[in-house]
Amino acid sequence: MSQQPDEQGLIRGYLLGELDEAGQERLEVLLLTDEAYVERVALAQDELVDEYVFGTLSEYDREQFEKNYLTAPERHQKLRIARALDKYLAAHAVTALARPEDAPRMWKARLLQFLNAYKLKLASALTVVVLVALGYGLWVFINNRWLEARLAAPPEQIVAVERELARLNEPEGDAFPPGRPLPNDAAVLSLKPFRLRDAGELRRVTIEGEAHILQLRLVLAADDYPNYRALVKTEDGKQFTVDGLHSRPVGDDKVVVLRLPAGILRTGDNEVRLFGLTPATQTREVGLYPFQVINRALP
């Protein structure tokens, strides 16, 4: 199902009461012959209501919306539901994406739901729960020990790397300003924040033997903070924090430049989580930047 921009404008005009009677009727006859069109109009309604709730309608459109759209109790209810959803999103501002450490709670909830749904006898249900809990507990214990072993590194190594990260990302020492030719020992990768719609987009860099530094240019969707913090997670499970980052213009974008020593990046999947820092030192995640590395310099 595709939707052309002019068709979208037509549907929007219809919802805001801007079409003449002939235009209105042409659109409505389409609703009787094209089931996909019914869904497109319903979808456009959702988005119009959301724009009203988010406050992104122009003043004219807002007036039209209030005058011509909010004319039935069902539409008022749809608006209240949209407001409730907006309120819910604001109350749960930090991303609630499932993390590996949430998996045990989710599985437990699913297991309990399964047992209730089938109404097993109490004795046999308890027996099953106890057996599963024992087996599950053993699994969590083994898994956590494995994770601890992976994450463990001599503290002095982490400190040395973070010292190197701080040196590479000093605000005054802009060794590789964007726009100037890079030295031979630097690889560069520009990344936009990961979105569901970008799934499958190539985000990979190859580090050749002579490159000692990877420069990431993290494109910002919005530049709302004076300072940024990057949390780097490497393929082998290590985590490093880089503070004192700032945005800068690169072409039409605002980016945060993050320089990483190539030695900490093994071949595989790595990611950077970028956080904005408010003057009150509160943090808000502004983007997730996963990327793949092929590091030919490391064994």
Binding site: Y14, T33, V38, D46, A72, Q77, L85, D86
Partner: protein, 186 residues
């Protein structure tokens, strides 16, 4: 509005035959007409859209015996003509009611506490991946809408249709759940 009467099997069969000689195709066209009529009445602000859609179909079905031999053109346009007439009738009734009772059109309220409570319940009832998807989708869409207004001349970058459709379908499920929850709360 008169109480709706059900179509007899014979009337229904004649109606389907008029829509298409192939019964399966006719059934599909009937479904599209029915959902389209509900959508039209809803979009025109009618509060009992399903009843009005049924009334439209009933009236057309009763006429089909005389229509079938003489009508030339897309049956959908005939349905639309009858729907328009029914809309005007119901609109006249509603206007008269408003005038006599002095009803002022409802003003949106800021307090959405009942809807919020029901939303929480209904979100928890969704499959976890649907819940995660819908929340992340609207979080990102809100930011995208806000950003689009900040940047002058930004080329519209619509999300892929499949994402929008999926979000819309999950939202439709959520809205139906919330309405049912609100009815239970009274």
């Amino acid at each position: 509005m008169k109480k709706k009467t059900d179509l007899t099997q014979k009337e229904f069969d004649i109606l389907l035959a008029w829509l298409d000689p192939d019964r399966e195709q006719a059934a599909r066209k009937y479904q599209t007409l029915h959902s389209g009529l509900i959508q039209i009445f809803t979009l025109r602000g009618c509060s009992s859209a399903e009843d009005l859609a049924d009334e439209t179909i009933n009236r057309v079905a009763r006429k089909v015996i005389t229509l079938a031999g003489t009508y030339v053109g897309d049956p959908a346009k005939y349905f639309f003509g009858v729907a328009k007439k029914i809309y005007l009738e119901s609109h006249r009734e509603k206007t008269t009611q408003i005038e006599s009772e002095g009803v002022i059109p409802d003003v949106p309220q800021d307090d959405v506490e009942p809807e919020y409570d029901c939303l929480e319940r209904c979100l928890d009832a969704l499959p976890p991946d649907s819940k995660q998807f819908i929340l992340q989708y609207y979080r990102e869409e809100k930011q995208a809408m806000i950003n689009a207004r900040k940047v002058v001349g930004l080329e519209l970058n619509l999300s892929p249709t499949a994402l929008r459709v999926r979000a819309h379908r999950i939202r439709k499920t959520l809205e139906a759940c919330i309405r049912e929850c609100l009815e239970q709360l009274g």
